[in-house]
């Protein structure tokens, strides 16, 4: 899902009106009854029973709901209108610290960190420091600040990661900023000193792991000899998983069309000690095979729902949800997350390449339309504005009239070209499942949605 509403009312640099024909509400049902999703600002209501045939009213129910939804869709205090293009200060950067990786997964978007030659060298300390200084200097001090590490495999450039974390933490403290960290790693190179670093700081650690030994070895082989990475991964993550300290660890599994059975690998990954697993279907694999095709999406939807259902039962009975996709969806539906952008790219989030250039997204290092500035001269407002205007969901002809437009927001910009009716059908199907699950859980175990916990939990960018 997407970036949260900002509590700060921001100035619009451009207003892109919504499609007048776009639906303002979506009716859905859960085992608990009929519900109404007011599409703008994701407001969820229970509808009274028997509001089906417009009973007792002259006007058809749909007409009344139209009028009601039009009123409920207006922004409340503190909510940024959904037709605004705003340019908030940067709150979060990722540093592409490494240009290489010890694994060679066929589907890697970064070509093992080299980005097809756009990032030939690893990041230097000087580049990292200047980027961190700019972030800390420009961020809104009232909001959370995050420094992330990507690559390649970030721990190939271990020294830089350690130095950058210690620097950003100390510098943040000096400036009175709450700095958090994130890292996406293949987990195979973790040493005890790295684990200590992760434990000591408020780190969101995403470990890429595709499944049990068979799948992991097949999809994520070692670069040197194409041997399996499972044993290495299992061994290297054991200590962190046993005692994560302040770190929040989750597994992220890429799903290819060759194996859509999620439940089995979900259990396999949990058995390694991961508290939480998220799935990401492969939408584009560069030249390689394995991306999901139109006929795969219904099967994938069925598979993720089958993985989600037992987690729902757990949650209803007071347990945690271990499927990240569902946990995040439930949390965001509770808050009413709603945004015209699928992520913070170019908004509050930037990805810094090894050469110091700032890109809107870590997947777009080296891509000219995504280059929005650099550490030394800062963000270029005109380029940024152009980028944001073009990617606002109201600018997407395929999305303007979809009821899921502020929840999906068009999906990953990098994958937008792979958007098909079938792929969108999956998103809507999954959201319908999550909406119903949300309503059921809210009734069966209202304690699941602990307002304090959710208010204080910081959002971590993927």
């Amino acid at each position: 899902m997407n970036a949260p509403d900002s509590a700060v009312m921001m100035k619009a640099v451009e207003i892109i009106p919504a499609d007048e024909a776009a639906p303002l509400y979506k009716r859905f049902s859960s085992p608990r009854g009929e519900h109404l999703l007011v599409v703008p600002h994701t407001r969820i209501f229970d509808l009274p029973d028997g509001l089906t045939a417009g009973e007792g009213h002259d006007r058809p129910t749909s007409e009344m709901l139209d009028a009601l939804a039009a009123a409920l869709a207006l922004p409340a205090t503190g909510e940024v209108p959904l037709d605004y293009v705003v340019q908030p200060p940067p709150q979060s950067i990722s540093l592409n610290v490494s240009s290489s990786c010890n694994l060679s997964c066929s589907y890697c978007y970064a070509a093992r960190g080299s980005f097809e030659g756009a990032q030939p060298d690893a990041m230097t300390w000087e580049v990292a420091r200047v980027a961190i200084d700019r972030l800390l200097g420009e961020a809104d001090p009232a909001a959370a600040v995050t420094v992330g590490f990507l690559g390649g495999e970030p721990f190939v450039n271990r020294r830089l990661v350690h130095r950058a974390v210690e620097y950003a933490a100390a510098e943040g403290e000096r400036r009175g900023l709450a700095v958090g960290f994130s890292v996406t790693t293949n987990g195979t190179l973790l040493r005890e000193e790295d684990v200590e670093l992760l434990r000591r700081h408020r780190f969101a650690v995403t470990v890429s792991v595709d499944g049990g030994p068979r799948l992991q070895n097949l999809q994520r082989p070692l670069h040197v000899n194409q041997g399996g990475s499972y044993a290495l991964l299992h061994e290297a993550t054991r200590s962190l998983l046993a005692a994560p300290g302040r770190a929040k660890v989750a597994a992220r599994a890429t799903v290819t069309r060759f194996d859509l059975n999620l439940r089995e690998r979900f259990d396999a990954i949990l058995s390694m000690g991961f508290p939480e697993v998220g799935f990401a279907p492969l939408r584009s694999a560069g030249g390689a095979a394995g991306a999901l095709e139109d006929e795969d999406w219904p099967a994938y939807l069925g598979a993720i729902i089958r993985a989600a259902e037992p987690e729902m039962e757990r949650a209803c009975e007071g347990g945690t949800v271990r499927l990240t996709n569902l946990a995040v969806a439930l949390k965001q539906l509770y808050r009413g997350a709603s945004s015209p952008y699928p992520c913070g790219a170019g908004g509050g989030y930037f990805s810094v390449a090894a050469d110091g250039r700032w890109y809107a997204c870590h997947r777009a290092v080296g891509s000219e339309p995504y280059r929005l500035g650099d550490s030394s001269t800062g963000i270029e407002p005109a380029r940024r504005r152009e980028f944001l205007v073009a990617r606002h969901v109201h600018s997407q002809s395929a999305c303007r009239q979809c009821w899921a437009r502020y929840l999906c927001s068009g999906g990953c910009h990098q994958e937008a070209t792979h958007r098909t009716e079938s792929a969108c059908g999956f998103i809507r199907g999954w959201l319908e499942f999550c909406l119903a699950a949300y309503c059921e859980l809210a009734e069966r175990n209202p304690n699941y949605f602990n307002p304090e916990a959710i208010a204080h939990e910081r959002d971590v960018h993927e």
């Binding site: 209501f45 509001l51 045939a53 409340a76 808050r335 304090e452």
Partner: protein, 573 residues
């Protein structure tokens, strides 16, 4: 009221809740009236209908039809075809009748339209008549008189009686039979066939000429004759700023401040008809008796603040206990009144007194919830985890008395003249319970949370309404002797082993448990429990039925002490 009658959206997530809660939203857009609004909620007089046009009720006098009554014509305006189909499917309408309705529906935009030309039915005091609409005329006098006009004719039809209407369009005539519709539901609220805004749709605002002529008691309270003048900046220190001026004065400039004061004869010249038509917008808004020519900002409430957060919380908890205690007293009094064997003025007065006592008790239940909402908000602001928050559901051991700083016992007693007098004292503005809330409000004004102060303000405003209501009850019951309206003069609580009494205590306890669970979570998480508690109060299977059963058996309805730390009596601070 059944579940089905309540068309209510229950917010399910934070964003849904937020939309209804912020100050700005209240000011910018209101979607119809809340379900709790009744005709008498209007600030103006409701007849002849300046705030709601009662003639709109008659538009739906006949099942499945909406008509427009224009002069001497009754024209079919719309047909509820879904309702017709449902009634046909349920076997309540003949095929022939369905065909007529369908034809009316098909011809809605046709010219000329379908007209109701003949009505046969029971016309109230005029009895059974067969009326040809076109023949109606004034004057309407004498023994065999007819209604004077089409609207009056429809208005006179007795609710629930059979009506035969004859419709005509060109040379076609059709007839339909149906019962004159009910405009109100069992609860006295408007029947759900009426849409939001329907009763006001025929009003025009401003009725500028009327504005000029009508005195302040004819129009709603938003049209005063006199008001205090707007305050210029800086405010001169002269008595005239606090002397009323004619609100509709012709002289609108502030250069000769203060404006000439109002006199019994009106004072300075007032706007003439035509001036009002063209410059009505220059009339100032009046709030708290004073005209405002710029934005109005409510003043801060002045009162003796509690020095610490802990004292505020203690007093809020006690306030919740007082609400519970007065609910006990009011319900005991309400259920001591007769419900059978009443007629005439006695019947009307006792029925009204009982209904109003229960209404006030229900309003105190809302206060209980409101105080708990404020307590939860404060607890969250203080980072108290949900698990540690304890809702305030302990009944007050003693409640504030008429003299500041004095307290009296909670008394379970019938609605005797002394009891009603005590209720008046309890709700009297500025003392007793109101005095407690005024200190709470003064303290909360510093919290930068407008919602909490508004919550307390609305409790205080309702307290004033309760005060007036008890004065009315005193007047109504005062016309009769207690042995006429009380179930018995020596009404006493049931013996401890009475099974009806036991059922009442059991249901009351279950209600407290539900409220405890709901208040602990707040909204939206606690909504399910709070709604369940509300439902558990109604009907024969609820608190209502249990209390009625105790009363019907000839006992006083009383609520026993609950021996549970969460619900046992709390002392005044």
């Amino acid at each position: 009221m059944s579940d089905k009658d309540i068309v209510k959206l229950l917010p399910r997530n934070v964003a849904a809740l937020r939309r209804g809660q912020t100050e700005k939203d209240g000011a910018t857009l209101v979607v119809g009236n809340p379900v709790s609004v009744r005709l008498e909620s209007g600030v103006g007089n409701c007849f002849p209908g300046l705030e709601c046009d009662l003639r709109n009720l008659e538009r739906r006098f006949f099942p499945f039809l909406t008509v427009d009554v224009i002069g001497s014509l009754i024209r079919v305006a719309s047909v509820d075809t879904a309702g017709v189909q449902a009634a046909a499917a349920a076997g309540q309408l003949s095929a022939a009748a369905v065909a007529v309705y369908q034809q009316l529906a098909a011809d809605l935009t046709a010219n000329p339209p379908w007209l109701i030309i003949q009505i046969r039915g029971t016309f109230g005091p005029l009895g059974v008549l067969d009326v040809t609409v076109a023949n109606l005329q004034v004057p309407s006098t004498g023994a065999n008189r007819l209604p004077p006009d089409a609207w009056t004719a429809v208005r006179l039809l007795t609710e629930g009686t059979e009506v035969l209407i004859t419709l005509r369009r060109n040379n076609l005539t059709r007839t339909l039979t149906g019962n004159r519709a009910r405009y109100l539901d069992d609860n006295g609220a408007l029947a759900k066939m009426f849409l939001p805004g329907e009763l006001t749709q025929s009003l025009c605002s401003p009725w500028t000429h009327d504005f000029r002529d009508c005195g302040c008691f004819y129009w709603a309270s938003n049209h005063p004759d006199i008001a205090l003048p707007p305050l210029p900046t800086p405010t001169p220190d002269v008595a005239a700023v606090n002397t009323s001026v004619p609100w509709q004065r012709a002289e609108r400039t502030l250069t000769d401040f203060p404006p000439a004061p109002a006199t019994p004869n009106g004072g300075s010249r007032e706007m003439a008809y035509y001036e009002i038509n063209t410059t009505w917008q220059s009339l100032n808004f009046v709030a708290e008796g004073r005209e405002f020519s710029g934005p109005y900002e409510p003043g801060k409430f002045k009162g003796d603040k509690f020095p610490t957060r802990a004292e505020l919380v203690t007093n809020l908890r006690y306030a919740a206990g007082v609400e519970l205690a007065v609910i006990h007293e009011y319900l005991t009094a309400a259920y001591s009144l007769r419900v059978t064997g009443l007629s005439g003025a006695l019947g009307r007065n006792v029925t009204a007194a009982r209904a109003e006592l229960i209404r006030v008790a229900a309003s105190e239940m809302r206060h209980l919830r409101a105080v708990n909402d404020v307590l939860l908000t404060l607890a969250r602001a203080d980072n108290v985890p949900t698990a540690d928050f304890i809702p305030a559901l302990r009944v007050a051991a003693r409640i504030p008395d008429s003299q500041p700083g004095t307290f009296r016992d909670v008394l379970a007693r019938p609605a005797t003249p002394q009891a009603i007098q005590d209720f008046i004292e309890l709700e009297r503005p500025s003392v007793s319970v109101d005095g407690l809330y005024s200190r709470i409000l003064a303290t909360l004004e510093d919290e930068q949370n407008n919602e909490m102060s508004q919550t307390i303000r609305s409790i205080m405003a309702e307290g004033e309404n309760h005060f007036e209501t008890f004065e009315f009850i005193q007047e109504w019951l005062g016309q009769h002797s207690p042995n006429q309206y009380l179930l018995a003069l020596d009404l006493a609580p049931p013996p401890a082993d009475n099974p009806l009494h036991a059922t009442l205590q059991q249901r009351y306890r279950a209600l407290l448990e539900r409220l405890f669970a709901g208040y602990k979570l707040g909204i939206p998480a606690g909504a399910v429990n709070i709604n369940a508690a509300r439902q558990a109060m109604l009907g024969n299977g609820g608190l209502e039925g249990a209390a009625a059963a105790v009363a019907a058996a000839g006992f006083l309805v009383v609520f026993d002490r609950v021996n549970d730390p969460r619900f046992e009596p709390v002392n005044n601070p």
